[in-house]
Amino acid sequence: MIRSESTAGRARLDLLDPLEVSRLGGLELVTQGVVEGFLAGLHRSPRRGFSVEFAEHRMYQPGDELRYVDWKILGRNDRLYVKQYEEETNLRAMVVCDASRSMAWTGNPDTTLPKLAYAQRLIAALSLVLLRQRDATGLIVFDDEVRSVTPPRSRPSHWPELLRTLGSMTPGQGTAAEPALRRVVSQLRRRGLVVFVSDLLLDRDLALTVLRFLRHRGHQVLVLHVMDPAEVTLHGPAEARFEDPETHASVMLRPRDWAGAYARTVEDAVAGWRLACRRNGIGYHRITTDTPYGHVLRAALAPPRRERVR
């Protein structure tokens, strides 16, 4: 059981509003708090994660999550067994973070973090969880080119280095994910985990091509699609010219007239990403910057569901 005494009896930071969490302290402190809270919520199944594989069954004990119950055994023997997993050693994970100009945007600075700030904290927490599982974790930051590459390491002292890299991230200009994703190949020579954190305002076909390539190389790929709530629901003045901070392309319209059609377009885009990822065995999660980190970590670190994809 992994349980931190320091979090017992206190609010779990992983479930708080990200903006409020960010106000509690620096990146390292806040991230540790988030991870402590997250791990505290996982005390009944401490060995869950991407880096685990099925090992054996054991008798069900009160507190076990029902989703690990083996229903086939229950059907055959009328006994409750749960599946137990075994950690896989020497997993290498590479986080690819989009630091383009669009990631520095927030629809409302008073209520939500910029997408990049949210991504910083999320990646920090994720890498800490992975490192605590002794998984080697690296980081690639890119905008219109690859800005930094931190090779995957599994030693605990690697996390501060990752934090420094994350802390030094500044928003670039454009978005060119393809070179960054290709750099993963040179960093992960064996099967590993690739976590792609981006607002996905990029060349979709090109990005999917590279992601498919990574998947083809045997890597497990997870796409975390970061969106600002204001990107999901269109708001604004009666009439405005909306300008892309990267390409400076603009559109003039009345948000009130177009909100419905825009929401549909966004949903179609998200559905398109989700469907494309699913067809290629790529994990996909759309997250908004007001989503507590714990929810995202729980979704991201859940074992991949084997779903039939048509």
Binding site: R241, A249, Y262, T265, V266
Partner: protein
Amino acid sequence: MIGFLHPWVLAGLAAAGVPVLLHLLARREPPTVVFPAVRYLVDTTREHQRRLKLQNLLLLLLRTGMVASLVLAAAGPTAPLRGVPGHAPSALVVVLDNSASSGAIVGGTPLLARLKSAARAALDRATPSDALWLVTADGVPRRGDGAELATLIGSLGVSPRRLDLGAALGAAVEVLSTDRRPGQVLLLSDLQASALSPASVPVPLVVARPDAPAVRNVGIASLDVGPQPWSTDGGRVNVVLAGDSGAAVPMTVTLGGRQRQALGATGAAVTVALPGVAAGWWQIDAAVEGDELRLDDRRTASVRVAPLARADCSAAGRFAAAACDVLRGNGRLASGSEITLGTLAPRGASIVLPPPDPAHVGALNRELARRGVGWSFGQPVEAAEQTDSGALVGRERVLRRYPLVSGGSGRTGVLATINGQPWLVRSGGVVLLGSRLEPEWTSLPLSARFMPFMDALLNRIARGDVALLSGAPGEPVLLPDLVTTVRAGDRSWQVEGGAAFRPAAVGTYYLTAAGDTVGALSVNVDPRESRLRRADDGTVRRLWRGARVVALDRGGDDAFASLARGDLRGALLLAALLLGLAEVVVASAWRRGGAAA
């Protein structure tokens, strides 16, 4: 063609450009918002771009159409629409021909009654928004609402006047020109051919005419009593019948209660000898048997009966003396000293001519003044002039004359003028003529009018009788200068000599001056009213272009239907409302569509 009650409102159509203007103004640069997900907006708008353009265009058209509809409705449009109930506010002039001929009995019913019935039917179709006028035989347009004019029509009788239909239409058009509403003229008439005259009628004209043919009629066209005065031995009258009967009809001529019978045919003159009566003013009546038109069956004239004038013409020159001899030979003059022609006689009446020697003019003027005559001879004028047309003297050439100068306070007793200056005047028993009756002075002695002039001068003017006039009801008659009063029965009218007098009814009017009867005016129906033949439709359309001829029974129904202009205001307001609703639907449907999408 569409017409407008308030065409100036059409200037407001410029307001229809407001939506376009707002559309252009609304294209001002809006605030810029940084938004990373512009690609989603681009995708969204790309999908709906055609719909958006169509919607904007549709909204623009709807708003422009709505404003234009409201402005057009405010301008009060009307359009020729048949079969629509009611009509647009209109101006209608009803010309009701109640002239003498309308008194004819057709099919047992007075024609005027049918004309009045059609007029009332037309007025029944009027609305309070209409402007209505009624023109009758007197030619005066009277304005009123439907009820007022209906009352007026109810009290209308056959007028002895003649109505010139062309003039009446002209008056109607003039009245309509003062009103902005679409105008129309409804003419209700027996359409007597002799009453038609050309007229330009730029508004719709409906001519309602009786469908039954005109009745045959005989009337007395003229009653000529010949030269005046008559002697106490009697005289002769010439009677002319008018009409379309053709057959000989008996007639009766009455003078002083004594009747004479005669048989006459239309178009031919019949001479009837009348017995002698005592000296004085007498009225002669001629009558034929009553027929369908009674107003022209009787005619009246006046005659002055007096003993022959006894005149001395020896001092008047050879032309005047010769004329006197002729008059004596014809029994129109006797020799004597009652009247002296040429010089101023010590007693009795004198007709004074300018002396042949200008040196004697001064002495003559002094003698005139001593006798109390208010006129004198002025300085001689030698110029080719003409007398002004008047009751006594027509237009005659005058080469030499002495202007007659009034010495009194007033200018009275003028009987004839030249360029407005007195040429023949009378003061008491003295008559002054500005020129001698010789060809060197005036062409009068050489003209055919000389003998009637001499007859009148000796028998009437010198004796104080100045005029025997004739006229028709409503027509102006120029009165001699000295007339101060016109009298008919118990009624009398103060008049100014030389002015026109319009007698209202048929009959004899006596002209008096200073209490003495100086003439008579015989007023009778215009003889043209006796000819009842109707004009055909072709003539009507030729004289009044665009006229629509309908049966009299339909005249009232076609009063406004012929104008046939429907009021488009309601339709335009409805259109504006529908356009407004459509605008709301389109705008909200777009928002709903956008929200639903």
